[in-house]
Symmetry: C2
Subunit: 190 residues, 2 copies
Amino acid sequence: MGLKRVVVPVIGAVLALMVHAGDAPSSAIEYASNGELKFPANYREWIFLSSGVGMTYRPAGAAMPEHPDVDNVFVNQEAYRYFLQSGTWPDKTSMVLEIRHSESKGSINQGGFFQGEIEAVEVHVKDKRLDGGWGFFGFGEKQATGKPFPKSATCFSCHEQHGAVDTTFVQFYPTLQSVAKAKGTYREAR
Amino acid sequence: MGLKRVVVPVIGAVLALMVHAGDAPSSAIEYASNGELKFPANYREWIFLSSGVGMTYRPAGAAMPEHPDVDNVFVNQEAYRYFLQSGTWPDKTSMVLEIRHSESKGSINQGGFFQGEIEAVEVHVKDKRLDGGWGFFGFGEKQATGKPFPKSATCFSCHEQHGAVDTTFVQFYPTLQSVAKAKGTYREAR
């Protein structure tokens, strides 16, 4: 059996698998040359963590608005798998907060809320090169690059003070909450 | 250069890639020998389509309950990618409806709703071997296998009459709605 007859099909198989692997969504974060974050175009294929409706951290009192904002949170696959193993986030973790308008009446639906168009996208990134180790970037509805929020923005202080795991709101992500508790990384009463 | 010195590392590379490919979530549906559907254990790694809160298809009137049910819908990756290309669902499409309790006050949250524990999981499956081409299976909170719903269940008639694409509620999935409209598979006014 000639070398070529063995090696060529094997290399073909390797290439086929590499192409197949290339189909998997990439979730490495990338920065533009001006330091802004590039829009993570495929975040809807990342891991969904949870969704909220009209959540507010201010004292309640006002009635729920007619069309409260809804939000979805997604995290890149690599960080999710790392978290399942360790209860902690690796460097380059990216969490996308997608804020949408809500709708109440539409098609056959007569009550409650379903999700409408995008209002804004923000990304929370763990990066050891950033001051404090984490940064927030705002993309509006869908800008190509996101500007960093200033360190004075309340998102920094609120996440640092109240995030159950490493400045992230794992207390609102049911599937991760039990993991963090089992791994001993969960901070109660945040 | 010996045959072994070339082939062995190449085969090693193939095996490494195959193991890596094996990490990707599998989403093929499987039936138990009694015809029940096996629980799709990794559905939280599937593609998230949307989330609703206290949605109702009955005439409104009753006020939103204090803790309305919330639901998340996931679809297997292969079906999602097929839909993006065609606006239609392939055979073996699996859509998971995950119903959760909602919470309102917890941690620093003071209003609106966030997602709590699972109440029930149901799966909607496209399978040409099923009567009518689609079936529904109920798993309670997390049973190992799901019993098929009888054809008399209202889910069948409601999905058939009102689903915007092939008995599915694409009208409530913002990212798919635009795809179906572009591909000409969207039925308006459902």
